[in-house]
Amino acid sequence: MPEPTAATATPDAPGIDVSASLGGDAWRRLRRRPDVIVSAVVVVFFAVMAAFPTLFTSTDPQRCVIGDSKTRPQGLGATHPLGTDVHGCDMLAQLVHGSRPSLLLAFVVVGASVLIGVLLGLLAGYYLGWVDTVVSRTVEVFLVVPLLLAALLLLSLFRNVHVGSGAFDVILLPALVLTLFGWMGYARYVRASTLEAKNLDYVTAARALGASDLRIMVRHVLPNAIGPVTALVPTAIAGVISAEAVLAFLGIGVRPPAISWGIMITNGAEWVTGGYPYLLLFPLGCLILTVLALVVLGDALRDALDPRLR
């Protein structure tokens, strides 16, 4: 079809205000999606729980009565609404108080990993040469060292180091270990998509205009290379929460007496076949809900911010 006069052609559907800014348009579209609203409510709910646990329970999670061991859920209003675990600790109190270390750890680890991975991957893919050699070989070294071996090494290194008992101190060691062994995937993905994006004509055009490397990387390469990372993040959060439980066995997880969802899942898994599936299902449900909500939110946000899908 011959091109209509360029000035009057309107390729978009009528009725859509295309001249609105990208951010405003994204916000308007997100507000209209029920799955986004539900996911947002779930995320906010757990965030509030992590920030203000006493709003949800007045029971001390560390007050455990061994005689009340494995009390089945009693329903709202009772002493133990969600029952108790093997040691007689209140499940609700543990879930509520366990949300803070779990979520904090997940966001700190994933945030730091993404930051390191994206930065190194971008530099390696853009400059290649020796930068790429150093980054790629480092990635491979970290990939072949088993996580548990490295965790044990760190454990012995930090054995006599005293860390405090604040919210960050509790998760310091697991955050360190998991970040150290969590950034390689992002670096690889970003390096690969940087290699692809940097040879596109619009990057060449920017270079011909005299744009600096920094501008090209930030404005042109990164926005078009970050896609795979956004898909990895929600599942990585679930991975971190469960990996923390493994580390807890080695004594470098969330420091006792603090509790986390990961520890609760591991402990509860032993009793699923023994007639007490709720010990696993409550913490697992919280984890799945959080991750699902993040997946939906992340997906919707990515779509809303992609101008091609407007």
């Binding site: 011959p2 091109e3 360029a6 000035a7 295309v18 990208l22 004509d201 619009y202 404005r219 407007r310």
Partner: protein, 432 residues
């Protein structure tokens, strides 16, 4: 390689030349090995090209895929550094300048890309894309005037200035190409390097973009280096034409001279592949079909680089009883001696290229005269010039020296290389 004879337009009118390259070469090392990378060879993408582009003029650059056209374009806009030779913008050698001065001078040479779908960042609005040059060169337009400057640029290329908030995917291919042109024009360049700017577009849209480029040339006094493999488009827009093969310019001259009186067998073959609307107007014996792909630029043929595919060399050899498809079936001179660009169409010693005025027609072929007279030629001009072009260089090899009069009727000579081709031959598939 032998010293190429330049067209020397620079010496005749130095003020007029806005962009010039002298003996430009760009090679890429071929590396092998995993840890210790050894350089095992070089791909000579561009090998000794000299061109001059004058103000307000259009130089068309044609050739097959792999002939080095796009590499030359990338060197010209400063994305690649040449391995040898000079790039002169306004008579100043770019390579000897400081970084900052080079960046300023580079503004004068901007690029229009082939694929309008990859040349615009899909995540930036049209306003941001066209305004980016102003953010890079902050002195170009004062901050407050940028919005208006963007609107003016969009209007200049025939787009609605109200579309600044739209994104590239909301435009058609032709409109995107206009956006790309607006971006290139933002820094007020004097030269636009157009790397196949219309080959990805619909035929109807091609015309519009070509017309826009011509209008802009008249309005802004731009010079174009117009790279294409569509010879019809180049014939339409270009004042001068250079033909590239395997990193070398094999023929160069004014448009009518090259199109009507091609002296290089490669140019002849390219021209005969241009589809003719009227089937009866086709040359009687069909097109001069080029066989196979160009040889690897990492290992170019000895002597004349075109001799492995040259229809003329085969025919000349055949006349001397050396028939066949083997490498021996070409005149020895073609295999051993590298031809240089020599002026054509005037009497006198062809080697003396220095005294030519602008518009000189040069070709790099040992048998340029035979190339122009032998075989088919669609235009009447070829028949009108049976012998003004003296065979360049020293006397040809005796065993390969053909008698130009020995073959007055090319049609009577069945040649395996000159098969009639009923359908439009695919001269070059779309690059990338």
């Amino acid at each position: 390689m032998p010293e190429p004879v330049t067209t020397d337009t620079a010496t005749s009118a130095p003020d007029d030349v806005v962009l010039e390259v002298r003996d430009l070469a760009k090679s890429y090392p071929v590396r092998q090995g995993v840890v210790l990378k050894r350089t095992t060879g070089h791909v000579q993408a561009v090998d000794g090209v000299s061109l001059a582009l004058r103000r307000g003029r259009t130089l068309g650059l044609v050739g097959e895929s792999g002939s080095g056209k796009s590499t030359l374009a990338r060197v010209l806009v400063g994305i690649e550094k040449p391995t040898r030779g000079q790039v002169l913008v306004d008579g100043e050698d770019v390579s000897t300048m400081s970084r900052g001065a080079r960046r300023e001078l580079r503004r004068n040479v901007q690029m229009v890309f082939q694929d309008p779908y990859t040349s615009l960042n899909p995540r930036m609005s049209v306003g941001d894309i066209v305004a980016e040059p102003f953010r890079i060169h902050r002195d170009a337009v004062p901050r407050g005037g940028r919005r208006r400057a963007v609107a003016e640029l969009l209007e200049l290329v025939g787009l609605d200035p109200d579309h600044v908030h739209r994104y590239p995917h909301q435009f058609s291919g032709g409109q995107r190409q206009r956006i790309g042109i607006a971006r290139a024009l933002a820094v007020k360049p004097r030269v636009l390097v157009c790397d196949e700017p219309v080959s990805a577009l619909d035929v109807s849209v091609q015309g519009q973009v070509i017309n826009l480029l011509e209008d802009l040339q008249d309005e802004l006094g731009l010079s174009y280096l117009f790279i294409a493999h569509d010879l019809a488009v180049v014939q339409h827009i270009a004042d001068e034409v250079a033909v590239m093969y395997l990193g070398r310019v094999v023929e160069e001259g004014d448009g009518p001279a090259v199109y009507g009186d091609a002296h290089h067998p490669y140019t002849r073959a390219l021209l005969s592949a241009v589809p003719v609307p009227d089937p009866t107007a086709r040359p009687a014996e069909g097109e001069l079909l080029l066989e196979g792909d160009p040889p690897s630029p990492a290992d170019p043929p000895s002597g004349c680089r075109f001799h492995t595919r040259c229809w003329l060399a085969r025919r000349l050899a055949e006349e001397h009883g050396v028939a066949g498809d083997g490498p021996e079936a070409v005149p020895e001179r073609c295999r051993t001696e590298d031809p240089v660009l020599v002026p054509l169409g005037r009497r006198g010693d062809g080697r003396d290229g220095g005294g030519d005025d602008e518009g000189a027609h040069v070709a790099a072929c040992h048998f340029a005269r035979e190339a122009a007279t032998l075989g088919a030629h669609p235009g009447p001009t070829a028949q009108a010039s049976p012998g003004p072009g003296t065979p360049p260089g020293p006397d040809p090899d005796p065993d390969a020296d053909p008698d130009p009069d020995a073959d007055p009727d090319p049609d009577a000579d069945p040649d395996p290389d000159l098969e009639p081709v009923p359908d439009r031959p695919v001269l070059e598939s779309r690059e990338r």
